[in-house]
Amino acid sequence: MVVPNLGDRKPMRYDELEIGEEFAPLEFTIPEERVKQYIEVFDDPHDWLREKDPKVPPFISSMDVIRPIFEKYGIAPGTVHAKQEVEMLKAVKPGQKLISKSRVADKYIKRERKYVVFEILTEDEDGKRINRNRFHFVLPE
């Protein structure tokens, strides 16, 4: 996954973001190769890719779903990931087809810093909820 930086997209501006703004749905899979990369990056010792009933490490499906947001808005230098909420509801298998839908859930000012909250819901092909993520970012001035 490549997340475009500011040079490619318009910056995310607090005053222009609207609560309820939706982003393009993302249909994606998490192939075995990406799981292998994750295991290497995180030195994760769990046997995720065993022959019988392989599974995807839980956090991968929470990472890739942010893509539609950053394809519309570039990450302005200085943007800080301030908080994250994750709810795991159903395990994912490598190669399984997933669909995520994201929107601006909230924005607020706290201690003079401007925050935006993105909510992303991911389901499998049968419409079963896989996970729910809420990303809180601090936007640079």
Binding site: M1, V2, V3, N5, Q37, Y38, V41, F42, D44, P45, H46, K55, P57, P58, F59, S62, M63, I75, P77, G78, T79, V80, H81, A82, K83, Q84, E85, V86, E87, M88, L89, K90, A91, V92, H136, P140
Partner: protein, 144 residues
């Protein structure tokens, strides 16, 4: 699945996870995620914006929290688990990190019994950098 889970109670800590952070790891994660925000990979930029130097992506620690929680709860955590954390201090290259969790209560939700925990990450000086809460599935046998 951990046998310790069978007798867990409020106040207990689950096994912690220790990791080291360095710029190579941050750069590696930037490549994996595609997030090359200069606060993570450009020392001079990070200083210019007042961060004192590069900081690790928050997502790296989230992956480590997942590892700790899966190690304790087993893969059932993928079907009935979660966490909510705030990043209150920067994770910097050179830090030795400890990911920890302590049980706050045994409860119920729509999926059944659950263990609620307080979770945090601290550096080598015991300074908390990430704080929040988590939950995982509770087997019925654990309430006995």
């Amino acid at each position: 699945m951990s046998e310790a889970k069978n007798s867990i109670k409020a106040g207990d800590e689950i096994p912690s996870l220790e990791k080291s952070m360095d710029q190579a790891k941050i750069d590696q994660f930037a490549g994996f995620s595609g997030d090359f925000n200069p606060i993570h990979v450009n020392e001079e930029f990070a200083k210019q914006v007042g961060l004192g130097g590069t900081i690790a992506h928050g997502a790296i620690s989230l992956g480590y929290f997942c590892e700790m929680l899966v190690s304790f709860f087993g893969e059932d955590w993928l079907d009935h688990g979660g966490f909510s954390v705030s990043f209150i201090g920067p994770v910097r290259p050179g830090y030795k990190l400890k990911y920890r969790a302590a049980v706050t209560e045994l409860a119920e939700d729509e999926k059944g019994g659950r263990v609620n925990l307080e979770i945090w990450c601290e550096n080598q000086d015991g300074v908390k950098l990430i704080v929040g809460r988590a939950h995982g599935p509770l087997e019925e046998s654990a309430t006995g």
